[in-house]
Amino acid sequence: MACVAVPIVEGILVKTAEWILVQKERREEARIKANKGEVDGKILMNGEEGYSFELKNENFPEGEKNSSLKHSGRGVGLSLRKKLHLLSNFLFSGSVLLVFEHFWHGEIVPFFPFLTGARSPEDTYTMLKEMSTVGVSMALLITGIWAVYCFVLERKLQKEGEKNASFA
């Protein structure tokens, strides 16, 4: 009974965090561009040489190389924004199909109060109990699998970074 609400709420929270990070990255990018413009002006005036650093990785498309990758001490890793994007995709994609299943069983209706479990106090109690047990377990399992996947991917990228550094 509406246990899917928990992964959806988690997905919304993760998406909000991702949006905040995107705004932060944009501000940072604009600041770097502004600084670079100032530096370029100085180069033109003084004739000094400038150096530009670019993060490169074959796993990511050209457009995302600056935003999705970061230096993490030993090498190149996955940014927090990219990780959160993965988690929100993971949560929302499963939730879409589960919402359909709940709609099929008549647990979600297209009119107020939208959840049949919210019609009477007894049903509400059952619904909340299911959310706190099944829903929370679903969200935890998805988050756990995402954490393991991110850990493995991070290690892989770090190894690739180290390999590239040793070749250079």
């Binding site: 246990c3 899917v4 992964p7 995709n89 993971f90 949560l91 994609s93 499963g94 939730s95 879409v96 199909l97 589960l98 359909f100 299943e101 099929w104 047990t133 099944v134 377990s137 679903m138 399992l141 998805i142 699998i145």
Partner: protein
């Protein structure tokens, strides 16, 4: 039954995803959809097992058919979402390939 069908759909999409080296058909979308839904239904089944016991392994024919029909509908919805995304990608590609100036 819908859990089983969803697991089979995950297996199919994952095998296609591994074969699609150029990532031309975006197989990661059905893979993510069915994998995530399968995991959630798996948790649901565990709680159902704890509640009802081995009864869930011997459903009657009517429940089996209804659940199978639900599973097939879920797969159809997943495929529809994937195809929709592919179509949008195709339209974007077409739009970007049209020259804007002569």
């Amino acid at each position: 039954m819908h859990l089983l069908l969803s697991v089979f759909a995950t297996e199919w999409s994952f095998s296609r995803f591994l074969r699609d080296k150029n990532k031309e058909y975006a197989y990661h979308i059905p893979c993510l959809l069915f994998l995530s839904a399968s995991l959630m239904w798996f948790v649901d089944s565990i709680f159902e097992y704890l509640e009802k016991g081995t009864e869930i392994f011997t459903p009657n024919l009517q429940d089996l058919v209804q659940d199978g029909f639900l599973g097939l509908s879920v797969i159809a919805l997943g495929i529809l979402i994937w195809q929709g995304k592919l179509f949008l990608n195709y339209l974007q590609k077409q739009k970007s390939s049209v020259p804007t100036s002569f």
